[in-house]
Assembly symmetry: C2
Homo-oligomer: 315 residues x 2
Protein backbone atom coordinates (compact mmCIF):
# COMPACT_ATOMS: atom_id res chain seq x y z
CA UNK A 1 0.00 0.00 0.00
CA UNK A 2 1.16 3.56 -0.47
CA UNK A 3 1.62 6.41 1.95
CA UNK A 4 0.46 10.01 1.96
CA UNK A 5 2.75 12.32 3.91
CA UNK A 6 2.03 15.93 4.80
CA UNK A 7 4.79 18.10 6.23
CA UNK A 8 7.53 20.49 5.33
CA UNK A 9 9.99 20.73 2.47
CA UNK A 10 12.64 23.26 3.39
CA UNK A 11 16.02 24.74 2.82
CA UNK A 12 18.17 24.23 5.91
CA UNK A 13 21.34 25.93 7.02
CA UNK A 14 23.21 23.80 9.53
CA UNK A 15 26.45 24.10 11.40
CA UNK A 16 27.98 20.96 12.93
CA UNK A 17 31.44 20.02 14.22
CA UNK A 18 31.95 18.31 10.83
CA UNK A 19 31.22 21.45 8.81
CA UNK A 20 28.41 23.64 7.56
CA UNK A 21 25.79 23.67 4.84
CA UNK A 22 23.81 26.63 3.62
CA UNK A 23 20.34 26.28 2.10
CA UNK A 24 20.54 22.54 1.64
CA UNK A 25 17.45 20.43 1.01
CA UNK A 26 15.58 19.59 4.20
CA UNK A 27 12.14 19.36 5.78
CA UNK A 28 10.29 16.60 7.60
CA UNK A 29 8.22 15.45 4.61
CA UNK A 30 11.28 15.43 2.35
CA UNK A 31 13.27 13.13 4.66
CA UNK A 32 10.24 10.95 5.24
CA UNK A 33 9.48 10.65 1.52
CA UNK A 34 12.99 9.67 0.52
CA UNK A 35 13.31 7.16 3.33
CA UNK A 36 9.96 5.46 2.73
CA UNK A 37 10.41 5.51 -1.05
CA UNK A 38 12.88 2.62 -0.79
CA UNK A 39 10.02 0.36 0.34
CA UNK A 40 6.74 1.59 -1.09
CA UNK A 41 4.98 4.35 -3.05
CA UNK A 42 4.70 7.71 -1.33
CA UNK A 43 2.77 10.87 -2.17
CA UNK A 44 4.09 14.14 -0.84
CA UNK A 45 1.87 16.99 0.31
CA UNK A 46 3.90 20.14 0.96
CA UNK A 47 4.52 23.66 -0.27
CA UNK A 48 7.62 25.32 -1.67
CA UNK A 49 8.37 28.80 -2.96
CA UNK A 50 9.29 29.92 -6.45
CA UNK A 51 12.93 29.76 -5.38
CA UNK A 52 12.73 25.96 -5.05
CA UNK A 53 15.26 24.33 -7.32
CA UNK A 54 13.69 22.07 -9.95
CA UNK A 55 16.58 19.63 -9.53
CA UNK A 56 15.27 18.83 -6.06
CA UNK A 57 11.86 18.02 -7.53
CA UNK A 58 13.55 15.75 -10.05
CA UNK A 59 15.52 14.05 -7.27
CA UNK A 60 12.29 13.23 -5.41
CA UNK A 61 10.72 12.01 -8.67
CA UNK A 62 13.73 9.78 -9.31
CA UNK A 63 12.78 8.03 -6.04
CA UNK A 64 9.28 7.41 -7.34
CA UNK A 65 7.85 10.05 -4.98
CA UNK A 66 4.51 11.37 -6.28
CA UNK A 67 5.07 15.13 -6.23
CA UNK A 68 1.68 16.12 -7.60
CA UNK A 69 0.84 17.43 -4.13
CA UNK A 70 4.00 19.55 -3.93
CA UNK A 71 2.44 23.00 -4.28
CA UNK A 72 4.53 25.85 -5.61
CA UNK A 73 3.63 29.34 -4.40
CA UNK A 74 5.12 32.70 -5.10
CA UNK A 75 7.47 33.61 -2.29
CA UNK A 76 10.33 31.88 -0.56
CA UNK A 77 10.62 28.27 0.57
CA UNK A 78 10.50 27.54 4.32
CA UNK A 79 13.93 28.06 5.82
CA UNK A 80 15.42 26.75 9.05
CA UNK A 81 18.87 27.22 10.44
CA UNK A 82 20.46 25.59 13.43
CA UNK A 83 23.69 24.65 15.07
CA UNK A 84 24.90 21.46 16.76
CA UNK A 85 27.32 22.83 19.29
CA UNK A 86 28.77 19.78 20.99
CA UNK A 87 31.00 17.04 19.62
CA UNK A 88 28.40 14.42 20.55
CA UNK A 89 25.77 16.28 18.48
CA UNK A 90 23.19 15.85 21.22
CA UNK A 91 22.34 19.52 21.60
CA UNK A 92 20.79 21.55 18.85
CA UNK A 93 19.96 25.25 18.88
CA UNK A 94 17.65 26.81 16.35
CA UNK A 95 19.11 30.06 15.06
CA UNK A 96 16.33 31.10 12.73
CA UNK A 97 13.00 29.88 11.36
CA UNK A 98 11.37 31.60 8.37
CA UNK A 99 8.02 30.04 7.57
CA UNK A 100 7.74 31.97 4.27
CA UNK A 101 5.22 30.23 1.95
CA UNK A 102 4.65 27.58 4.64
CA UNK A 103 2.73 30.16 6.69
CA UNK A 104 -0.14 29.99 4.21
CA UNK A 105 -0.02 26.23 3.68
CA UNK A 106 -3.53 24.79 3.66
CA UNK A 107 -3.57 21.72 1.45
CA UNK A 108 -6.71 20.66 -0.40
CA UNK A 109 -6.44 16.97 -1.09
CA UNK A 110 -7.33 15.51 -4.48
CA UNK A 111 -9.54 12.45 -4.66
CA UNK A 112 -6.50 10.25 -5.25
CA UNK A 113 -4.74 11.69 -2.23
CA UNK A 114 -7.81 11.21 -0.02
CA UNK A 115 -7.79 7.48 -0.71
CA UNK A 116 -4.39 6.50 0.76
CA UNK A 117 -4.39 3.68 3.28
CA UNK A 118 -1.36 4.95 5.19
CA UNK A 119 -1.07 8.53 6.34
CA UNK A 120 1.89 10.22 8.02
CA UNK A 121 1.26 13.60 9.61
CA UNK A 122 4.78 14.98 9.94
CA UNK A 123 5.61 17.67 12.46
CA UNK A 124 3.41 20.66 11.53
CA UNK A 125 0.67 22.66 13.23
CA UNK A 126 -1.73 20.15 14.84
CA UNK A 127 -4.69 22.05 13.38
CA UNK A 128 -3.32 21.38 9.92
CA UNK A 129 -2.75 17.72 10.82
CA UNK A 130 -6.37 17.47 11.97
CA UNK A 131 -7.58 19.18 8.81
CA UNK A 132 -5.72 16.75 6.55
CA UNK A 133 -6.97 13.74 8.51
CA UNK A 134 -10.51 15.11 8.18
CA UNK A 135 -10.17 15.31 4.40
CA UNK A 136 -9.45 11.60 4.01
CA UNK A 137 -12.24 9.73 2.23
CA UNK A 138 -12.44 7.17 5.01
CA UNK A 139 -10.33 6.49 8.10
CA UNK A 140 -6.99 5.27 6.70
CA UNK A 141 -5.79 1.85 7.78
CA UNK A 142 -2.93 3.45 9.71
CA UNK A 143 -2.35 7.05 10.73
CA UNK A 144 0.90 8.12 12.38
CA UNK A 145 1.90 11.51 13.70
CA UNK A 146 5.04 13.33 14.73
CA UNK A 147 5.12 16.54 16.75
CA UNK A 148 7.48 18.66 18.82
CA UNK A 149 7.79 20.78 21.98
CA UNK A 150 6.68 23.91 20.14
CA UNK A 151 3.17 22.46 19.66
CA UNK A 152 3.12 20.66 23.02
CA UNK A 153 3.69 24.00 24.68
CA UNK A 154 1.69 26.21 22.33
CA UNK A 155 -1.25 24.12 21.09
CA UNK A 156 -1.75 21.34 23.61
CA UNK A 157 -5.52 21.11 23.12
CA UNK A 158 -5.30 20.93 19.34
CA UNK A 159 -2.46 18.44 19.64
CA UNK A 160 -4.49 16.29 22.04
CA UNK A 161 -7.41 16.40 19.62
CA UNK A 162 -5.41 15.05 16.71
CA UNK A 163 -3.36 12.60 18.80
CA UNK A 164 -6.59 11.06 20.08
CA UNK A 165 -7.35 10.05 16.48
CA UNK A 166 -4.04 8.48 15.40
CA UNK A 167 -2.66 4.96 15.67
CA UNK A 168 1.04 5.68 16.15
CA UNK A 169 2.70 8.65 17.80
CA UNK A 170 6.38 9.47 17.29
CA UNK A 171 8.01 11.72 19.87
CA UNK A 172 11.53 12.17 21.06
CA UNK A 173 12.40 11.36 24.65
CA UNK A 174 12.14 14.91 25.98
CA UNK A 175 8.90 15.57 24.11
CA UNK A 176 7.30 12.38 25.44
CA UNK A 177 8.19 13.35 29.00
CA UNK A 178 6.91 16.88 28.49
CA UNK A 179 3.68 15.78 26.81
CA UNK A 180 2.93 13.27 29.55
CA UNK A 181 4.26 15.38 32.43
CA UNK A 182 6.12 12.26 33.51
CA UNK A 183 9.87 11.60 33.73
CA UNK A 184 9.52 7.80 33.57
CA UNK A 185 9.22 6.73 29.94
CA UNK A 186 7.20 3.58 30.60
CA UNK A 187 4.63 5.62 32.50
CA UNK A 188 4.81 8.44 29.92
CA UNK A 189 4.09 5.99 27.10
CA UNK A 190 1.17 4.49 29.00
CA UNK A 191 -0.25 7.98 29.52
CA UNK A 192 0.08 8.77 25.83
CA UNK A 193 -1.64 5.53 24.84
CA UNK A 194 -4.51 6.44 27.18
CA UNK A 195 -5.09 9.54 25.01
CA UNK A 196 -5.66 7.39 21.93
CA UNK A 197 -2.66 5.97 20.05
CA UNK A 198 -2.26 2.22 20.29
CA UNK A 199 1.47 2.55 19.73
CA UNK A 200 4.07 5.09 20.81
CA UNK A 201 7.56 5.32 19.42
CA UNK A 202 9.99 7.21 21.66
CA UNK A 203 13.03 8.31 19.70
CA UNK A 204 16.26 8.65 21.71
CA UNK A 205 18.74 9.58 19.00
CA UNK A 206 22.05 7.81 19.49
CA UNK A 207 20.43 5.84 22.30
CA UNK A 208 17.91 4.07 20.10
CA UNK A 209 14.13 3.82 20.31
CA UNK A 210 11.47 2.42 22.56
CA UNK A 211 8.36 1.09 20.86
CA UNK A 212 5.31 0.67 23.05
CA UNK A 213 2.62 -1.28 21.22
CA UNK A 214 -0.26 -2.01 23.56
CA UNK A 215 1.26 -4.19 26.27
CA UNK A 216 4.35 -5.05 24.26
CA UNK A 217 7.63 -3.16 24.58
CA UNK A 218 10.44 -3.29 22.05
CA UNK A 219 13.70 -1.61 22.98
CA UNK A 220 16.16 -1.13 20.14
CA UNK A 221 19.62 0.42 20.31
CA UNK A 222 20.78 2.88 17.70
CA UNK A 223 23.06 1.41 15.05
CA UNK A 224 26.58 2.25 16.34
CA UNK A 225 28.21 4.61 13.87
CA UNK A 226 31.75 5.75 13.49
CA UNK A 227 30.78 8.81 11.50
CA UNK A 228 27.95 11.09 12.50
CA UNK A 229 27.91 14.25 10.42
CA UNK A 230 24.48 15.82 10.81
CA UNK A 231 21.56 14.47 12.86
CA UNK A 232 19.01 16.68 11.05
CA UNK A 233 16.25 14.54 9.55
CA UNK A 234 17.08 11.37 11.49
CA UNK A 235 13.67 11.22 13.16
CA UNK A 236 11.79 11.65 9.89
CA UNK A 237 14.04 9.12 8.17
CA UNK A 238 13.24 6.76 11.03
CA UNK A 239 9.52 7.36 10.54
CA UNK A 240 9.96 6.82 6.78
CA UNK A 241 11.55 3.42 7.27
CA UNK A 242 8.98 2.49 9.92
CA UNK A 243 5.94 3.51 7.88
CA UNK A 244 7.50 2.31 4.63
CA UNK A 245 7.86 -1.19 6.05
CA UNK A 246 4.33 -1.29 7.46
CA UNK A 247 2.72 0.09 4.31
CA UNK A 248 4.68 -2.21 2.00
CA UNK A 249 3.95 -5.37 3.97
CA UNK A 250 0.64 -4.30 5.55
CA UNK A 251 1.86 -6.38 8.50
CA UNK A 252 0.38 -4.68 11.56
CA UNK A 253 1.17 -7.53 13.94
CA UNK A 254 3.50 -6.85 16.90
CA UNK A 255 6.31 -8.58 14.96
CA UNK A 256 5.64 -6.30 11.98
CA UNK A 257 5.85 -3.23 14.19
CA UNK A 258 9.17 -4.43 15.64
CA UNK A 259 10.69 -4.99 12.24
CA UNK A 260 9.39 -1.57 11.23
CA UNK A 261 11.16 0.00 14.20
CA UNK A 262 14.38 -1.83 13.38
CA UNK A 263 14.21 -0.70 9.76
CA UNK A 264 13.44 2.83 10.94
CA UNK A 265 16.60 2.75 13.05
CA UNK A 266 18.61 1.64 10.05
CA UNK A 267 17.23 4.46 7.90
CA UNK A 268 17.90 7.02 10.63
CA UNK A 269 21.48 5.75 10.87
CA UNK A 270 22.05 6.37 7.17
CA UNK A 271 20.57 9.87 7.35
CA UNK A 272 23.03 11.13 9.94
CA UNK A 273 26.09 9.97 8.04
CA UNK A 274 26.03 13.02 5.78
CA UNK A 275 24.42 16.42 5.44
CA UNK A 276 20.94 16.93 4.02
CA UNK A 277 19.81 14.05 1.78
CA UNK A 278 23.35 13.32 0.63
CA UNK A 279 23.29 9.84 2.19
CA UNK A 280 19.61 9.01 2.71
CA UNK A 281 18.91 9.98 -0.90
CA UNK A 282 21.62 7.78 -2.42
CA UNK A 283 21.23 4.31 -1.01
CA UNK A 284 21.03 1.01 -2.80
CA UNK A 285 18.65 -1.68 -1.64
CA UNK A 286 21.72 -3.71 -0.88
CA UNK A 287 23.08 -1.00 1.48
CA UNK A 288 19.82 -1.10 3.39
CA UNK A 289 19.52 -4.87 3.56
CA UNK A 290 23.12 -5.31 4.65
CA UNK A 291 22.72 -2.85 7.48
CA UNK A 292 19.36 -4.32 8.47
CA UNK A 293 21.02 -7.74 8.77
CA UNK A 294 23.93 -6.21 10.65
CA UNK A 295 21.49 -4.45 12.98
CA UNK A 296 19.87 -7.78 13.86
CA UNK A 297 23.34 -9.17 14.48
CA UNK A 298 24.59 -6.40 16.76
CA UNK A 299 21.40 -6.30 18.82
CA UNK A 300 20.85 -9.98 19.49
CA UNK A 301 22.07 -12.55 21.96
CA UNK A 302 21.20 -16.23 22.34
CA UNK A 303 18.16 -16.46 24.60
CA UNK A 304 17.63 -19.27 27.09
CA UNK A 305 16.17 -22.31 25.37
CA UNK A 306 13.04 -23.99 26.70
CA UNK A 307 14.11 -25.71 29.91
CA UNK A 308 17.60 -24.15 29.94
CA UNK A 309 18.47 -22.37 33.17
CA UNK A 310 21.02 -19.80 34.21
CA UNK A 311 23.97 -21.02 36.29
CA UNK A 312 23.39 -21.06 40.06
CA UNK A 313 25.64 -19.69 42.79
CA UNK A 314 27.09 -21.64 45.69
CA UNK A 315 24.49 -21.27 48.39
CA UNK B 1 34.92 -21.02 38.36
CA UNK B 2 34.91 -18.48 41.17
CA UNK B 3 35.67 -14.79 41.22
CA UNK B 4 37.89 -12.64 43.37
CA UNK B 5 36.70 -9.05 43.66
CA UNK B 6 38.62 -6.19 45.20
CA UNK B 7 36.90 -2.89 45.86
CA UNK B 8 34.95 -0.93 48.40
CA UNK B 9 32.37 -1.80 51.00
CA UNK B 10 30.80 1.39 52.25
CA UNK B 11 27.99 3.12 54.03
CA UNK B 12 26.19 5.43 51.63
CA UNK B 13 23.88 8.32 52.25
CA UNK B 14 21.75 9.05 49.21
CA UNK B 15 19.02 11.48 48.38
CA UNK B 16 16.77 10.75 45.39
CA UNK B 17 13.38 12.01 44.21
CA UNK B 18 11.94 8.81 45.75
CA UNK B 19 13.38 9.47 49.19
CA UNK B 20 16.57 9.31 51.22
CA UNK B 21 18.72 6.75 52.97
CA UNK B 22 21.37 7.42 55.58
CA UNK B 23 24.35 5.09 56.10
CA UNK B 24 22.92 2.27 54.05
CA UNK B 25 25.09 -0.60 52.81
CA UNK B 26 26.97 0.28 49.64
CA UNK B 27 30.32 0.02 47.90
CA UNK B 28 31.41 -1.32 44.52
CA UNK B 29 32.63 -4.69 45.79
CA UNK B 30 29.48 -5.18 47.87
CA UNK B 31 27.15 -4.67 44.88
CA UNK B 32 29.40 -6.79 42.68
CA UNK B 33 29.56 -9.63 45.20
CA UNK B 34 25.84 -9.85 45.75
CA UNK B 35 25.08 -9.69 42.05
CA UNK B 36 27.62 -12.32 41.00
CA UNK B 37 26.76 -14.57 43.95
CA UNK B 38 23.56 -15.66 42.20
CA UNK B 39 25.66 -17.40 39.56
CA UNK B 40 28.98 -18.50 41.03
CA UNK B 41 31.26 -18.37 44.05
CA UNK B 42 32.78 -15.02 44.90
CA UNK B 43 35.51 -13.96 47.33
CA UNK B 44 35.45 -10.41 48.58
CA UNK B 45 38.58 -8.38 49.27
CA UNK B 46 37.75 -5.12 51.06
CA UNK B 47 38.11 -3.26 54.32
CA UNK B 48 35.55 -2.01 56.82
CA UNK B 49 35.79 -0.18 60.11
CA UNK B 50 34.84 -1.34 63.57
CA UNK B 51 31.49 0.38 63.08
CA UNK B 52 30.55 -2.12 60.40
CA UNK B 53 27.37 -3.93 61.36
CA UNK B 54 27.81 -7.69 61.70
CA UNK B 55 24.37 -8.21 60.16
CA UNK B 56 25.79 -6.95 56.88
CA UNK B 57 28.57 -9.53 57.06
CA UNK B 58 25.95 -12.21 57.69
CA UNK B 59 23.90 -11.00 54.76
CA UNK B 60 26.90 -11.40 52.44
CA UNK B 61 27.59 -14.82 53.91
CA UNK B 62 24.00 -15.86 53.35
CA UNK B 63 24.71 -15.27 49.64
CA UNK B 64 27.66 -17.63 49.79
CA UNK B 65 30.12 -14.74 49.54
CA UNK B 66 33.52 -15.70 50.96
CA UNK B 67 34.18 -12.87 53.41
CA UNK B 68 37.54 -14.15 54.69
CA UNK B 69 39.14 -11.24 52.79
CA UNK B 70 36.88 -8.64 54.39
CA UNK B 71 39.39 -6.96 56.68
CA UNK B 72 38.15 -5.16 59.78
CA UNK B 73 40.24 -2.22 60.99
CA UNK B 74 39.82 0.14 63.84
CA UNK B 75 38.23 3.31 62.58
CA UNK B 76 35.19 4.15 60.51
CA UNK B 77 33.93 2.43 57.37
CA UNK B 78 34.26 4.28 54.05
CA UNK B 79 31.38 6.72 53.66
CA UNK B 80 29.96 8.35 50.56
CA UNK B 81 27.03 10.66 50.22
CA UNK B 82 25.39 11.93 47.08
CA UNK B 83 22.24 13.34 45.61
CA UNK B 84 20.30 12.59 42.43
CA UNK B 85 18.76 15.91 41.67
CA UNK B 86 16.64 15.35 38.61
CA UNK B 87 13.50 13.26 38.15
CA UNK B 88 15.24 11.21 35.46
CA UNK B 89 18.07 10.34 37.92
CA UNK B 90 20.68 10.99 35.25
CA UNK B 91 22.69 13.53 37.22
CA UNK B 92 24.45 12.69 40.42
CA UNK B 93 26.40 15.03 42.67
CA UNK B 94 28.76 13.77 45.32
CA UNK B 95 28.26 15.68 48.57
CA UNK B 96 30.92 14.02 50.64
CA UNK B 97 33.50 11.24 50.53
CA UNK B 98 35.20 10.01 53.70
CA UNK B 99 37.78 7.34 52.93
CA UNK B 100 38.25 6.48 56.61
CA UNK B 101 39.78 2.98 56.93
CA UNK B 102 39.82 2.69 53.16
CA UNK B 103 42.68 5.22 53.02
CA UNK B 104 45.04 2.58 54.44
CA UNK B 105 43.68 -0.35 52.44
CA UNK B 106 46.51 -2.49 51.10
CA UNK B 107 45.33 -6.08 50.80
CA UNK B 108 47.74 -8.99 51.15
CA UNK B 109 46.24 -11.92 49.34
CA UNK B 110 46.18 -15.38 50.85
CA UNK B 111 47.28 -18.35 48.75
CA UNK B 112 43.67 -19.30 48.16
CA UNK B 113 42.82 -15.79 47.00
CA UNK B 114 45.80 -15.70 44.67
CA UNK B 115 44.53 -18.73 42.78
CA UNK B 116 41.19 -17.39 41.46
CA UNK B 117 40.62 -17.75 37.73
CA UNK B 118 38.40 -14.68 37.46
CA UNK B 119 39.39 -11.33 38.93
CA UNK B 120 37.35 -8.16 39.11
CA UNK B 121 39.21 -4.97 39.99
CA UNK B 122 36.37 -2.69 41.05
CA UNK B 123 36.74 1.08 40.98
CA UNK B 124 39.65 1.86 43.34
CA UNK B 125 43.06 3.49 43.00
CA UNK B 126 44.72 2.01 39.88
CA UNK B 127 47.93 1.47 41.86
CA UNK B 128 46.01 -0.79 44.21
CA UNK B 129 44.43 -2.58 41.25
CA UNK B 130 47.89 -3.17 39.79
CA UNK B 131 49.21 -4.40 43.12
CA UNK B 132 46.40 -6.95 43.50
CA UNK B 133 46.87 -8.18 39.94
CA UNK B 134 50.60 -8.57 40.64
CA UNK B 135 49.89 -10.73 43.67
CA UNK B 136 47.97 -13.34 41.67
CA UNK B 137 49.77 -16.67 41.48
CA UNK B 138 49.50 -16.73 37.70
CA UNK B 139 47.69 -14.56 35.22
CA UNK B 140 43.99 -15.26 35.86
CA UNK B 141 41.91 -16.57 32.99
CA UNK B 142 39.95 -13.32 32.90
CA UNK B 143 40.67 -9.95 34.50
CA UNK B 144 38.13 -7.12 34.33
CA UNK B 145 38.45 -3.60 35.63
CA UNK B 146 36.19 -0.67 36.38
CA UNK B 147 37.36 2.88 36.92
CA UNK B 148 36.07 6.45 37.01
CA UNK B 149 36.80 10.06 36.02
CA UNK B 150 38.63 10.71 39.26
CA UNK B 151 41.41 8.27 38.28
CA UNK B 152 41.30 9.17 34.58
CA UNK B 153 42.01 12.74 35.55
CA UNK B 154 44.32 12.14 38.52
CA UNK B 155 46.28 8.95 37.75
CA UNK B 156 46.16 8.50 34.00
CA UNK B 157 49.58 6.82 33.78
CA UNK B 158 48.87 4.33 36.54
CA UNK B 159 45.44 3.68 35.06
CA UNK B 160 46.96 3.08 31.62
CA UNK B 161 49.45 0.67 33.18
CA UNK B 162 46.79 -1.51 34.75
CA UNK B 163 44.34 -1.21 31.84
CA UNK B 164 47.04 -2.50 29.51
CA UNK B 165 47.01 -5.75 31.49
CA UNK B 166 43.28 -6.49 31.69
CA UNK B 167 40.89 -8.34 29.39
CA UNK B 168 37.70 -6.37 29.92
CA UNK B 169 37.29 -2.71 30.79
CA UNK B 170 34.03 -1.30 32.14
CA UNK B 171 33.50 2.44 31.83
CA UNK B 172 30.47 4.64 31.63
CA UNK B 173 29.84 6.66 28.50
CA UNK B 174 31.37 9.91 29.73
CA UNK B 175 34.39 8.14 31.19
CA UNK B 176 35.05 6.26 27.94
CA UNK B 177 34.94 9.51 25.98
CA UNK B 178 37.20 11.22 28.47
CA UNK B 179 39.68 8.36 28.67
CA UNK B 180 39.93 8.13 24.88
CA UNK B 181 39.69 11.89 24.22
CA UNK B 182 37.09 10.99 21.61
CA UNK B 183 33.38 11.86 21.46
CA UNK B 184 32.49 9.00 19.12
CA UNK B 185 31.98 5.82 21.14
CA UNK B 186 32.98 3.42 18.37
CA UNK B 187 36.27 5.24 17.95
CA UNK B 188 36.68 5.60 21.72
CA UNK B 189 36.25 1.85 22.19
CA UNK B 190 38.74 1.11 19.44
CA UNK B 191 41.25 3.42 21.12
CA UNK B 192 40.73 1.71 24.47
CA UNK B 193 41.24 -1.74 22.92
CA UNK B 194 44.49 -0.50 21.41
CA UNK B 195 45.75 0.08 24.97
CA UNK B 196 45.24 -3.58 25.85
CA UNK B 197 41.75 -4.84 26.73
CA UNK B 198 40.22 -7.15 24.17
CA UNK B 199 36.74 -6.10 25.25
CA UNK B 200 35.22 -2.81 26.38
CA UNK B 201 31.84 -2.44 28.00
CA UNK B 202 30.44 1.07 27.81
CA UNK B 203 27.69 1.55 30.36
CA UNK B 204 25.02 4.09 29.45
CA UNK B 205 22.64 3.80 32.41
CA UNK B 206 19.02 3.92 31.28
CA UNK B 207 20.26 3.83 27.70
CA UNK B 208 21.80 0.38 27.92
CA UNK B 209 25.29 -0.85 27.15
CA UNK B 210 27.63 -1.23 24.22
CA UNK B 211 29.94 -4.24 24.29
CA UNK B 212 32.95 -4.09 21.99
CA UNK B 213 34.63 -7.47 21.80
CA UNK B 214 37.37 -7.39 19.21
CA UNK B 215 35.58 -6.66 15.94
CA UNK B 216 32.17 -7.60 17.28
CA UNK B 217 29.72 -5.04 18.65
CA UNK B 218 26.73 -5.88 20.82
CA UNK B 219 24.31 -3.06 21.60
CA UNK B 220 21.81 -3.77 24.34
CA UNK B 221 19.08 -1.49 25.62
CA UNK B 222 18.43 -1.08 29.32
CA UNK B 223 15.52 -3.07 30.64
CA UNK B 224 12.62 -0.56 30.62
CA UNK B 225 11.53 0.02 34.20
CA UNK B 226 8.51 1.70 35.64
CA UNK B 227 10.14 2.24 39.00
CA UNK B 228 13.65 3.58 39.37
CA UNK B 229 14.43 4.45 42.97
CA UNK B 230 18.21 4.70 43.28
CA UNK B 231 20.78 4.13 40.50
CA UNK B 232 23.66 3.71 43.00
CA UNK B 233 25.40 0.38 42.42
CA UNK B 234 23.83 -0.33 39.03
CA UNK B 235 27.20 -0.44 37.26
CA UNK B 236 28.72 -2.83 39.79
CA UNK B 237 25.60 -4.98 39.73
CA UNK B 238 25.94 -5.04 35.95
CA UNK B 239 29.57 -6.12 36.27
CA UNK B 240 28.55 -8.78 38.81
CA UNK B 241 26.03 -10.32 36.44
CA UNK B 242 28.48 -10.08 33.54
CA UNK B 243 31.41 -11.64 35.37
CA UNK B 244 29.18 -14.09 37.25
CA UNK B 245 27.90 -15.50 33.97
CA UNK B 246 31.35 -15.79 32.43
CA UNK B 247 32.94 -17.35 35.50
CA UNK B 248 30.08 -19.82 36.01
CA UNK B 249 30.02 -20.99 32.39
CA UNK B 250 33.65 -20.28 31.49
CA UNK B 251 32.20 -19.45 28.07
CA UNK B 252 34.50 -16.77 26.68
CA UNK B 253 33.14 -16.96 23.14
CA UNK B 254 31.52 -13.86 21.61
CA UNK B 255 28.11 -15.43 22.30
CA UNK B 256 29.09 -15.96 25.93
CA UNK B 257 30.13 -12.32 26.26
CA UNK B 258 26.81 -11.18 24.80
CA UNK B 259 24.77 -13.27 27.18
CA UNK B 260 26.96 -11.96 30.00
CA UNK B 261 26.14 -8.38 28.97
CA UNK B 262 22.44 -9.18 28.78
CA UNK B 263 22.51 -10.76 32.24
CA UNK B 264 24.51 -7.78 33.51
CA UNK B 265 21.76 -5.48 32.25
CA UNK B 266 19.15 -7.55 34.03
CA UNK B 267 21.10 -7.40 37.32
CA UNK B 268 21.59 -3.64 36.96
CA UNK B 269 17.86 -3.24 36.40
CA UNK B 270 17.07 -5.00 39.68
CA UNK B 271 19.59 -2.93 41.60
CA UNK B 272 17.98 0.42 40.75
CA UNK B 273 14.50 -0.66 41.81
CA UNK B 274 15.25 0.02 45.45
CA UNK B 275 17.80 1.65 47.74
CA UNK B 276 21.07 -0.02 48.70
CA UNK B 277 20.95 -3.83 48.42
CA UNK B 278 17.24 -3.94 49.23
CA UNK B 279 16.38 -5.39 45.82
CA UNK B 280 19.66 -6.81 44.46
CA UNK B 281 20.19 -8.67 47.74
CA UNK B 282 16.76 -10.32 47.78
CA UNK B 283 16.19 -11.96 44.44
CA UNK B 284 15.11 -15.48 43.65
CA UNK B 285 16.65 -17.37 40.78
CA UNK B 286 13.21 -17.32 39.25
CA UNK B 287 13.07 -13.50 39.38
CA UNK B 288 16.35 -13.36 37.46
CA UNK B 289 15.46 -15.98 34.88
CA UNK B 290 12.07 -14.45 34.21
CA UNK B 291 13.55 -11.04 33.61
CA UNK B 292 16.37 -12.49 31.50
CA UNK B 293 13.77 -14.15 29.27
CA UNK B 294 11.76 -10.95 29.17
CA UNK B 295 14.88 -9.00 28.27
CA UNK B 296 15.44 -11.27 25.26
CA UNK B 297 11.83 -10.75 24.30
CA UNK B 298 11.80 -6.95 24.52
CA UNK B 299 15.09 -6.57 22.65
CA UNK B 300 14.53 -8.88 19.70
CA UNK B 301 12.86 -8.70 16.33
CA UNK B 302 12.56 -11.27 13.59
CA UNK B 303 15.62 -10.97 11.36
CA UNK B 304 15.51 -11.49 7.60
CA UNK B 305 15.73 -15.16 6.77
CA UNK B 306 18.30 -16.45 4.31
CA UNK B 307 17.13 -15.28 0.90
CA UNK B 308 14.34 -13.08 2.30
CA UNK B 309 14.46 -9.48 1.10
CA UNK B 310 13.00 -6.21 2.29
CA UNK B 311 10.09 -4.80 0.28
CA UNK B 312 11.08 -2.59 -2.65
CA UNK B 313 9.70 0.82 -3.59
CA UNK B 314 8.07 1.77 -6.87
CA UNK B 315 10.96 2.93 -9.00
Amino acid sequence: MSILVVGSVAYDTVDTPSGSRKDSLGGSAMYFSLSSSYFTGVSLLAVVGDDFDQKHVRMLESHGVDVSGLERRSGKTFRWSGVYETEDLNTRSTLDTQLNVFAEFSPKLTDAQRRHDYLFLANIDPELQLDVLGQMESRPRLVALDSMNFWIEGKKNELNAVISKVDVLFLDEGEAKEFAGQANLVKAARHIMSVGPKAVVIKRGEHGVLLFNGDSIFAAPAFPLETVVDPTGAGDSFAGGFMGYLAATDDLTPDGYRRAAALGSVMGSFCVEDFSADRIGHLSHNDIESRFREFAEISSFIPLKEGETLPKGHY
